[in-house]
């Protein structure tokens, strides 16, 4: 029963919050949409935390998404042991980097007086949830080897069942508690997402690559004489 609530119902609540609150916030209070960078207040430690954190977590997230979206392709990719080893080792390395980087970022927020002032309760909540997520992730990678393969037979079908509005929680039921925690916490982060600074994730400024350098805005139509 608790599995059903945690893995069958809660993901819907989380995604519903993500979308509805996200849209509401974007429409009503767009001013609040910011990365809330604290580099201005402290720059040196941030470099060693923020850069590895962002690049590593982006790659790890991408791997999770790819295995969910293209399970057969992912399976083929891991067909050879050498590729499997390589992926597992890379994943573990990146996971450890995120863990160290996040720890650094958390210490920075605690120890630097200026940065701790601009840290809200929601910020702490986000940091705690992210720490739990990467810690359980690294722990799973260490103790329950070949996660990149068994993910295809557990998480992928479970996630697809959620997409099809037919939650099949039995895919997760038999897994160790730490994996369940990792799965639940993932959706918890999605639920916190629209209430926090995490919204900056959807503002990746890719349009910058193609826009002209100078931007001129006319308030009135230019009426050619």
């Amino acid at each position: 029963m608790s599995d059903m609530i945690l893995f069958g119902a809660f993901p819907y609540v989380a995604v519903a919050l993500l979308i509805s609150v996200g849209i509401y916030r974007y429409c009503v209070d767009r001013y609040s949409w910011s990365s809330q960078s604290s580099q201005f207040l402290e720059s040196r430690v941030l470099f060693w935390g923020s850069v590895p954190w962002h690049y590593a977590i982006l790659i790890i997230l991408m791997a999770h998404f790819l295995a969910f979206l293209f399970p057969s392709g992912w399976g083929v990719l891991l067909g050879r042991p050498i590729r499997l080893y390589l992926l597992e080792v890379t994943g573990l390395g990146l996971g450890i980097s995120t863990l160290i980087a996040l720890a650094l970022l958390i210490f920075r927020r605690v120890l630097n007086a200026r940065v701790s002032v601009v840290t809200t309760i929601v910020d702490w909540l986000v940091l705690a949830a992210l720490l739990l997520q990467v810690a359980t992730g690294v722990y799973i990678a260490f103790t329950l080897r070949w996660g990149s393969v068994w993910y295809l037979h557990t998480a992928t079908p479970w996630l697809w069942s959620l997409v099809k509005f037919d939650p099949q929680v039995q895919y997760l039921a038999a897994l160790p508690a730490v994996v369940k925690l990792h799965a639940f916490n993932a959706f918890l982060i999605l639920a916190i997402f629209p209430f926090s600074r995490l919204v900056h994730v959807v503002s990746v400024p890719l349009s910058y690559l193609s826009r002209p350098y100078q931007v001129v805005v006319w308030y009135r139509e230019r009426r050619a004489g």
Binding site: W33, Q39, H200, R222
Partner: protein, 495 residues
């Protein structure tokens, strides 16, 4: 031709007394709130000096402005992709320590301290952390401190001078300085606009004011680095960048910007310039020493019938062309060639111009006596404030541009001396005019505009034609410490 109008300004540095009234007016209007304490949209620097933030002119450190590479103009901060790659950590971002940690004093301790033998004191506390702190810097920390081997000697412009020139500059009892008030230059080729990954910064087509759309800003803070003048500021509490708005709400109501209106020395002139927007890139591509001339070339004569016709075709309203004809800035910059842009070599085409200061130049070897014209021209080269320093500030190193301005300023001074004191012959004054290539009517007009004009002549705001200006129905006082006009939510972090 693509003619646009630009609200531009001239600051007459000979008239600046360094009182900081402009800074205070601006602060009270716009940046008197949490996260904005350190933002001085208008500040006044002592030159030679390190400025605010410290050594802002040193682009090897901050990577602001543009660079030429081949036939292209690139942001010194990096190409588009490399810029996006830096959003997680921008290595060229100045931090709070490059400005100062804002502080206040615990004034309440003065009245609430228990009775004792000692005078109660108001301890300084940080406005960031709220903790007691030692004040080590401020927005004008080196105010009037010329000759200082901590500040003036580290001025990026002074560092480039010869040892001899530096010694001359700092000789005891011969110290020299002038004030340099700075606001956003509302550049034509703005670095901040070009660097914003979100595309939140834009130039208003009608008047050329550069603004940051607060709802679009995501706090990637590239603008802070890319502006070579360091006139965009990151709001450490709101997570948004902010900059001088040239008091557009005031201008839309027909009022002068706060800093202009409050200027005690009446050094500030404001007016419209018409320019050809198609020439922006080619002007910004010129060699360092040709930049001033190229920028002057872009500015068009509002009396020229062809320009008037083209302006009409480009959609510049007739009233704006009329305002351009009355513009004091046009006179100073183009007609008289007296005002120069600050650091044109940053290639942003700044639209705030400065009349360089004459007094610190002239007082070389001045034993309380005015000198004759001949003397001036021979001493200009040996001036107390090296021409090279001034050329580095106002002409991309082109000494000829600066000298030409000084010859004109000297001609004005000598003609007035002749007319008002009379100890100088008409021939001397005429000789100075000839050397400056000015006729005596123009000299008189320059004198009039510099010294005698009232606010309506100094500040000619074009009609901004916003019939339904939001602020018409709002009480500005009510919005103090708020975001400003038109925003419905206060600039506080809510999420």
């Amino acid at each position: 031709m693509n003619i646009r109008a630009q609200v531009s300004s001239v600051f007459h540095l000979d008239k600046c007394i360094g009182c900081h009234t402009c800074s205070i007016a601006c602060k009270n209007l716009w940046t008197d709130r949490k996260g904005a304490e350190y933002m001085w949209w208008n500040n006044v620097e002592t030159k030679p000096g390190t400025g605010y933030p410290t050594k802002w002119e040193d682009q090897e450190r901050y990577n602001g402005g543009w660079e030429r590479s081949g036939s292209q103009l690139n942001l010194k901060l990096g190409g588009r992709a490399s810029l996006i790659g830096k959003i997680f950590h921008n290595p060229s971002l100045p931090t709070m320590d490059d400005y100062y940690e804002p502080f206040t004093y615990r004034y309440s301790d003065l009245t609430s301290a228990p009775a004792g033998d000692d005078q109660p004191t108001a301890r300084p506390v940080s406005m960031v952390s709220g903790k007691p702190m030692k004040i080590e810097a401020g927005p004008n920390w080196d105010d009037d401190l010329s000759g200082s081997n901590i500040y003036a000697a580290n001025d990026p412009g002074v560092v480039q001078l010869s040892v001899e020139e530096q010694q001359q500059l700092f000789a005891i009892e011969k110290m020299v300085f002038f004030h340099l008030p700075r606001i956003c230059n509302h550049c034509l080729n703005a670095g901040c606009v070009a660097s914003c990954p979100s595309g939140a910064i834009y130039k208003r087509g009608e008047d050329g004011i550069v603004l940051i759309n607060q709802d679009k800003c995501r706090g990637w803070r590239m603008c802070v680095s890319a502006c070579p003048y360091k006139k965009t500021y990151y709001g450490w509490s709101s997570g948004k960048s902010e900059k001088c708005i040239l008091c557009y709400p005031r201008q839309e109501a027909g009022e002068a910007p706060g800093c202009f209106h409050s200027c005690v020395g009446r050094i500030r002139f404001l007016g419209v310039l018409l320019y050809d927007a198609d020439r922006i890139e080619s002007a910004a591509m010129q060699g360092d020493k040709e930049l001033v001339a190229a920028q002057r070339e872009m500015i068009l004569d509002p009396f020229d019938p062809q320009v008037i016709a083209e302006a009409k075709r480009s959609g510049v309203p007739e009233e704006v062309v009329k305002a351009a004809q009355k513009s004091p800035v046009y006179k100073f910059v183009k007609e008289w060639g007296l005002a120069l842009p600050l650091h044109p070599e940053f290639r942003t085409l700044p639209m705030l111009f400065y009349v360089p200061p004459l007094l610190p130049v002239l007082s070389m070897d001045n034993l309380g006596k005015q000198k004759l014209a001949d003397d001036f021209f021979t001493t200009l080269e040996r001036a107390r404030l090296p021409m090279q320093y001034l050329a580095g500030l106002f002409a991309g190193g082109n000494e000829e541009e600066v000298k030409a301005v000084y010859r004109k300023l000297i001609a004005v001074r000598l003609q007035r001396r002749h007319l008002s004191v009379g100890d100088l012959s008409a021939e001397e004054a005429a000789k100075a005019c000839a050397a400056a290539e000015l006729n005596s009517e123009t000299v008189d007009a320059i004198y009039r505009m510099t010294a005698l004009t009232r606010i309506k002549e100094r500040i000619v705001i074009p009609p901004m034609l916003r019939e339904q200006a939001i602020e018409a129905g709002m009480d500005p006082e009510q919005y103090k410490q708020e975001m400003g006009f038109g925003s419905r939510l206060p600039p506080k972090r809510r999420w």
